[in-house]
Symmetry: C2
């Protein structure tokens, strides 16, 4: 399911350097946490996951690192409901499905023609850098 040409930690150092930012272990551990378990965790959840590996890290630093990753376009910040922001290391164009029963969020691939059709609703003059699509409903109970 991964796209190994774009989604691995090796890119982090490069992206940071290219942006004139420093390549800190905190940034790496936070990024790896997002790559490892792609369940759209909150900052606090990321904090909980990286602490075993790096007990000295602070929650404020996790927030800082996440913001840096978003700035570097390695991570998407998602806000589809009131509450803490969630973070997503999937860079492929995709929609989110939010299960209202369980609170879980799944990625749904978006074929290029669908994206194009959606963009076609933009009136002339409007230019969109990104489109966010979120379904709210119920996912199959296995």
């Amino acid at each position: 399911m991964r796209n190994d040409t774009t989604d691995h930690p090796a890119n982090l150092a490069e992206r940071l350097t290219r942006s004139g930012l420093r390549n800190t272990p905190q940034r790496e551990v936070v990024y790896r946490a997002l790559l490892d378990k792609r369940d759209h965790p909150t900052a606090d959840e990321v904090y909980g996951r990286v602490r075993p590996e790096m007990p000295s890290i602070s929650l404020a630093t996790v927030y800082n690192c996440l913001e840096t990753l978003v700035q570097c376009d390695l991570v998407r910040q998602v806000n589809f409901e009131r509450g803490p922001s969630r973070y997503c290391a999937n860079l492929q164009p995709h929609a989110h499905f939010h299960d209202e029963k369980t609170g879980a969020t799944y990625d749904l691939d978006l074929p290029p023609d669908v994206i194009e059709r959606i963009r076609s609703v933009l009136p002339p003059g409007y230019s969109a850098k990104t489109v966010e699509i979120t379904f709210h409903g119920q996912s199959p109970t296995p």
Copy 2:
């Protein structure tokens, strides 16, 4: 631009009664504020707008009223960025365009065929009650 068959305060009393809720002046004034100026205000902005008319109203009551209106399906609560929730009295199927420069949000009509095409990305078993679509970018500078 209004849909007068669905979007006016007269419906409020009916909806509230139908749901076994009370028809209070606070609820009416909050709902009218959303119908009057459809710029997707925050709860606090609604508070500022209704206060001249009803100085005794409290912010907590504005929050309560907004939640009630959302429950009654007269208002949509929108969360497309970190920060306070915004409220929208447009009940027609529509997408949001968020201007990253000005922070303004515009409604964009969604033709039925686009909605259908978007829903077609749902895998079997997934049932979506709602879909939210938000563009982030730049709107024309008049």
